[in-house]
């Protein structure tokens, strides 16, 4: 039998509730983030998870309130609960939480944040922000590893075990058979005589029983689902076009809408002329909204055509007009006044610089849009003092509060129905599209408004990741890296993002230096300084947040130093590494890639390593230098996650993360002219396509004890590994992204 888990009431609230025709188990876990001196000025906050099990006539449903944006989290959440609840995989139903069941309401949302800390750290980061802790806590938590909080993945299993135990008690009560004579199998309680009682028929009784506060968890050896290759719950629907995304929802009496607002972000509007738009076929109404206007029509295409026919007179943006001026702004932020953090300061960098020749380099990386394939959209209905919002979002709780402010309705009359999402990558931590749709719904009471952004509206209003610059200096001695001083200047993602949510962002922003200041390398003289540039374009979290750029900045110059020292990129990192799990990760990628072997003519490799979100990831990229340019052949990825919850999903997420990191580094940037993003569709904003996609060989390592998510950590080392390979091939250092400014790719 597994370990007994006592649920401390002070820490966890577990309850059940009778619902129409069944029972719902709720489970909230509250935990404190790791204490950190940087956060002393902040109130202690709480993060929470709220999975549910609902049992009624339709069967057993696992409520997965953490929205699935494509990362397979519905399946993983379901596997964790189902493992202990003991139901057959094919009988599992998941539901992101619809408002109809009585237990899932605004009050629940208000009490417990609908996020787990299993993975997707920008999510958890965001959730913590709403819980009263700034998002920057995440960057800290990682290195505070020794005081690690109990893993969320354990808590989800507890939720399943509590539900199962309650059902067993219900069966005992109904049959008079003692609890210890009963067992379970695939969604039923089994009596000593072999008869079985379905969970569904025990639901009514279970609803009256106080759930136990002590449950036993299965030992790992008995797991059926966790760590196994399970078919994703949504895979059939996603392979047959039958999955309904937010953009696919159809409601009775619904009208279609599209909006335009000032592409100079936040710039506002002087006036508009909708004479032509009004006359267009299918147009029902044109409604002014904050910063622009929306068209109500009988078809999305007509709405988009009409909104594009409106002549707008936009105001100017408050930020520098074009990319050149923006770069100048960042470049002039390396000053004491802008100094934001110096979280790494080992040895004496200045003294080291006096001893040996200093090498120096500057790097820059551009703004990047999230641009998930499904353009932002929402359906909103305001009717009889009730507001319903159907949309793909990562911030349902905040959205509810926003809607409260906008409409003046009480929270219990506002319902956010989270829809399946066609990607996010951090994009859906923003809610402009929903606010706009609420404004339209307020002007069209009683009618459901389905608002869809054109791709152009989407890309020009994508709160991108920030542009960043770095200056790096270092010395080498006796064939070793001796000193490394890295200064990074960037606008603060955290304060831009939290500012829009009306939350304060005091203290330094870890995002500016994440995956730079905290890398596990004991370079004798080592300093990392963050400089906060002015905000400029409003920015947001982009897959792997600060680490997305810093993985490149940190590794790229380290690679220069290692080359200067005449050392081997893998051996020197291993020599410097002071973190056991990271060392094993580096060793693993060395073995996988047969590091040091001869690759044959015109073939080269590069290596990079990043520790981000608590996950060490090492990547080796092999390329061929062809007549026409660089061809990506293979990527080897070693990744330490404590426990691989689902090997297929794990591999898929890592491959996706590597492609994300590489594709954007190779070809993508957002540039600005006249305050407007110059790229407004995928023709101007390229990322990887099939012909460029390398084979990606993945190994998950389970040496550590903390279970981590893998949505983000594969991203940071991808670009610098490729840059190192290109240097090996061409002798050219890439110090500016995207790389296609410097080299051609085939």
């Amino acid at each position: 039998m597994g370990r007994m888990k006592t649920i401390v009431r002070r820490t966890f609230l577990i309850g059940s509730a009778a619902i129409v025709g069944g029972v719902a188990f709720g489970y909230y876990a509250y935990k404190k983030p790791i204490a950190n001196p940087l956060l002393d000025d902040l109130a202690d906050g709480e993060a929470a998870i709220t999975p549910y099990v609902r049992i009624d006539q339709s069967g057993v449903t696992i409520i997965t309130p953490r929205a699935d944006k494509g990362q397979g989290t519905y399946s993983i959440q379901a596997a964790l609960v189902a493992e202990e609840l003991d139901i057959a995989w094919e009988d599992i139903q998941v539901d992101p939480g619809k408002p109809s069941p009585a237990y899932y309401n605004a009050t629940v949302l208000g009490e417990g944040l609908p996020f787990a800390a299993v993975d997707e750290s920008f999510l958890a980061r965001n959730a913590r922000a709403f819980g009263g802790v700034l998002g920057k806590v995440l960057g800290i938590q990682i290195t505070g590893g020794s005081s690690t909080v109990p893993d969320a993945y354990e808590k989800l299993r507890i939720a399943g075990a509590v539900a199962r135990e309650t059902l067993l008690l219900a069966a005992a009560q109904n049959t008079g058979v003692a609890r210890d004579q009963l067992s379970t199998k695939d969604g039923a309680v089994i009596l000593p005589d072999g008869k079985s009682i379905l969970y569904t028929s025990l639901a009514q009784t279970a609803a009256q029983i106080d759930p136990p506060s002590e449950v036993a968890l299965k030992p790992e050896s008995e797991w059926r689902y966790i760590g196994k290759e399970m078919p994703r719950i949504d895979i059939l629907a996603k392979s047959t076009g039958t999955l309904t995304y937010g953009i696919d929802m159809i409601m009775d009496g619904m009208v279609h809408a599209s909006v335009r607002t000032n592409p100079r972000m936040g710039g506002g509007i002087n006036s508009y002329d909708d004479t032509a738009a009004r006359k267009m076929r299918g147009v029902q109404k044109i409604i002014p909204i904050t910063g622009g206007a929306g068209v109500i029509a009988d078809n999305t295409w007509r709405a988009i055509q009409a909104v594009n026919a409106i002549e707008f007179d936009w105001k100017d943006a408050s930020y520098p007009k074009n990319s050149n001026l923006m770069w100048k702004t960042v470049a002039s932020s390396f000053t004491p006044k802008h100094k934001d953090s110096r979280l790494k300061n080992e040895g004496d960098v200045e003294a080291a610089f006096k001893e040996n020749k200093v090498i120096k380099a500057e790097y820059r990386i551009p703004y990047l849009a999230h641009a998930p394939l499904e353009p932002m959209n929402a359906i909103v209905l305001l009717k009889d003092g009730r507001l319903d919002i159907w949309t793909g979002t990562q911030i349902p709780l905040n959205m509810l509060q926003t809607a409260e402010k906008m409409t003046g309705l009480p929270a219990e009359n506002i319902h956010v129905h989270v829809q399946m999402m066609g990607g996010s990558f951090g994009r859906r931590l923003e809610d402009q599209y929903v606010r706009q749709t609420i404004e339209l719904a307020q002007a069209m009471e009683g009618t459901p408004i389905k608002m869809t952004w054109s791709r152009e509206e989407d890309m020009t209003h994508d709160f991108p990741r920030p542009m960043q610059m770095s200056s790096a200096w270092g010395t080498v001695k006796d064939g070793k890296v001796e000193s490394y001083d890295l200064a990074i200047a960037a606008p603060s993602t955290t304060s831009s993002q939290l500012g829009r949510l009306g939350l304060p962002a005091a203290g330094p922003d870890i995002a500016i230096v994440a995956a730079a200041w905290d890398q596990p390398f004991a370079i004798p003289h080592h300093r990392v300084t963050g400089y906060r540039a002015p905000e400029m374009v409003p920015i947001s979290s982009w897959r792997s947040v600060g680490a997305s750029g810093n993985g490149f900045l940190y590794n790229a110059f380290l690679d220069e130093l290692i080359h200067e020292a005449g050392a081997d990129p893998l051996m020197e990192r291993l020599r410097l590494c002071n973190h056991d799990l990271s060392r094993k990760t580096l060793e693993a990628v060395g073995e996988m890639s047969n590091w040091g072997s001869d690759l044959g003519p015109n073939r080269f490799r590069g290596l990079a390593f990043s520790l981000s979100f608590g996950v060490p990831v090492a990547e080796v990229i092999e390329i061929t230098n062809t007549q026409d340019g660089i061809k990506l052949d293979k990527v080897f990825v070693a990744c330490e996650v404590g426990k691989v919850l689902d090997p297929i999903n794990f591999e898929n997420q890592i491959q996706g993360g590597v492609i994300w990191g590489l594709g954007h580094a190779m070809a993508a940037e957002l540039t600005y002219d006249d305050g407007i993003a110059e790229q407004n569709n995928y023709d101007g904003y390229e990322s990887m396509r099939m012909y460029q996609a390398p084979d990606i060989i993945v190994r998950g390592l389970e040496n550590g004890t903390d279970v981590r998510g893998i949505g983000e950590p594969p991203v940071p080392p991808a670009a610098p590994a490729l840059a190192a390979a290109i240097f090996a091939a061409t002798g050219e250092r890439i110090r500016e992204l995207p790389m296609n400014k410097t080299v051609d790719f085939v």
């Binding site: 944006k69 494509g70 078919p231 994703r232 949504d234 895979i235 059939l236 629907a237 996603k238 392979s239 047959t240 076009g241 039958t242 999955l243 309904t244 995304y245 953009i247 696919d248 159809i250 279609h256 076929r281 078809n299 999305t300 295409w301 007509r302 988009i304 641009a371 998930p372 394939l373 499904e374 353009p375 999402m421 066609g422 990607g423 996010s424 990558f425 869809t452 054109s454 791709r455 297929i648 999903n649 898929n652 997420q653 491959q655 996706g656 993360g657 590597v658 492609i659 994300w660 594709g663 569709n681 995928y682 023709d683 990322s687 990887m688 396509r689 099939m690 012909y691 996609a693 084979d695």
Partner: protein
């Protein structure tokens, strides 16, 4: 009135001839398997078959449509999968899945024309469909597996 046939069913549509097929399908006929991603022939999320040939439906004004339309809903169903869909399920290709209707339609049409594709053929054919989630390695494997299935069929 425009007459069109989608997945074997005939419809009379009363829309302006410029309206792209994609929006006729999605908003007039409520056939939502084909997705809107870019509207400018860049992403392939809207891919359907017109007389069996993969076509970006955002680029076909309904007035210019000639031929029968098949959408992902008409290619196969959860109970009766097309070989390409079978391969997609077996390889667990989808992440968010939003691009996959288009990817599957592109692959089905490609394999019908190119039964024994080389890796280079696959890369070329599938490069007009964008996947922001980066499922390309799995798409590649699934296309190869589907080719084998179709050969055997």
């Amino acid at each position: 009135m425009t007459k069109i046939t989608v997945n074997g069913t005939a419809y009379d549509i009363d829309v302006e001839p410029e309206m792209p097929l994609l929006w006729v399908l999605r908003d007039e006929l409520n056939i939502t398997g084909p997705k809107y991603g870019c509207g400018i022939a860049q992403c392939g999320a809207c891919t359907v078959h017109i007389d069996g040939v993969a076509t970006k439906s955002c680029q076909v004004p309904i007035g210019d449509l000639e031929g029968d339309v098949t959408t992902i809903e008409g290619l196969g169903t959860p109970d009766a999968l097309h070989a390409v869909q079978e391969a997609w399920v077996e390889h667990q290709v989808a992440q968010c899945g939003y691009c996959q209707s288009g990817q599957i339609m592109a692959a089905a049409s490609f394999l019908a024309e190119t039964p024994n594709p080389t890796d280079a053929d696959i890369d070329e054919a599938m490069s007009s469909n964008l996947c922001r989630c980066g499922t390309y390695p799995r798409i590649r494997a699934a296309v190869k597996a589907a080719a084998v299935k179709l050969e055997g069929a």
